[in-house]
Amino acid sequence: MNCKKIEELLNPYVDQELDAESTQTVEEHLKSCPTCQDEYLKLKEMVASLNFLPQVSAPQNLTQNIMAKISQEEIQIQSSWIDHLKKQISVPSLSFPRKWESIFSFRLVGAAAAAVLVMFFAFTFIFNTPDTSPICSAEVQFSLRINDNKTHTVAIAGDFNNWDPQTNILEDPEGDGIWTGTLKLEPGRYEYMFVMDGENWFPDPNALRYVKDGFGNKNAILDINNCNTT
């Protein structure tokens, strides 16, 4: 076996991750090849120095601090991956047909998977496959849950109101943290965001699609289909 091949095996050899046969091959080669032997010793020495780095201890009060945060900030165990996007803001999926909830839960497996699925959504919506029903109601209900028990103003701003955070204010009549609002929308494609307390802009965590807004954030996209035409 040549030196190039042996060089590839040296790392797993040092890590004791080679099978018996390869281990023997490497050891036999090392006996007869001073160059590889030299490489091996250098590697071994470096691995030893890396292993020499000591373990450090976590700060004494780490557990306490985390548990305090859990109770103070009312961080809750969430039932949906979507919620983990926004620490305090979660959406109970009230605004869309039940059918889609299963799609939502898949979407946040990982950034890459999300990207793939966003593309998947794009295709399914463009081709309007039988599995996904389009939103065709002219009245669309938006909803958002904010879990922190504080008083907020929540508005929705988007293409339909010239991105004015004053025009369409969401309401929380029950005081249960679920903010809702209804908009009458013509068929078309809309980009929008939620605005909390007039200054915090964030995308609808429950939206089907997103687009980059050019300011380092992303807008939710809502497609309203004209369902009367066939």
Partner: protein, 186 residues
Amino acid sequence: MDDLKIIESCLLGNTQIFSRLIDNYKNMVYNLAYRMSNNPHDAEDVSQEAFLRAYQSLAHFNPSYKFSTWLYQITLNIIRDKYKKKDIDYDSLDAPIEKDDSEFYHQPADLSNNPEQIIAQKENLRIIQQAIYSLPLKYREVIVLRHLQDLSYIEISSILKLPQGTVKAHLYRAREQLKKILLNSG
């Protein structure tokens, strides 16, 4: 009480029991964060965030995996988000490695109690830690998981969701780069 029992109990409403999971894994998470970030303050922030995220997502933990694997993944995701920007700066180091015939210099560890040697030893540790930190994120991950967390190739590949061949290749490249960096600093 094993991890699964604690998680079950926590999901049933006994949220205070989560502190046991923190106690069991805080050193693991903190060490990972510390070696990845080279900074105790960042390490503490990352550790807190990791446990908070784990807590929030506890209902989604898949019991067919080890809890530690899941926690490693959460922690590394936070670190990746945090250092995305920095890693872009370091990507220039990720160039093909030329063969270098120069000698690799390294002072062997000396465990005697001579003060000069202790200082030299500390300096060595600092240099090694700095060298690890200067690696691109994907190489730093395999080095830290292998050497500081003492994990097998199989465990590393399941944490990073990479094929074992890729883990091997990353480890090889990471060590080649470390050699070069340590050579230049020595």
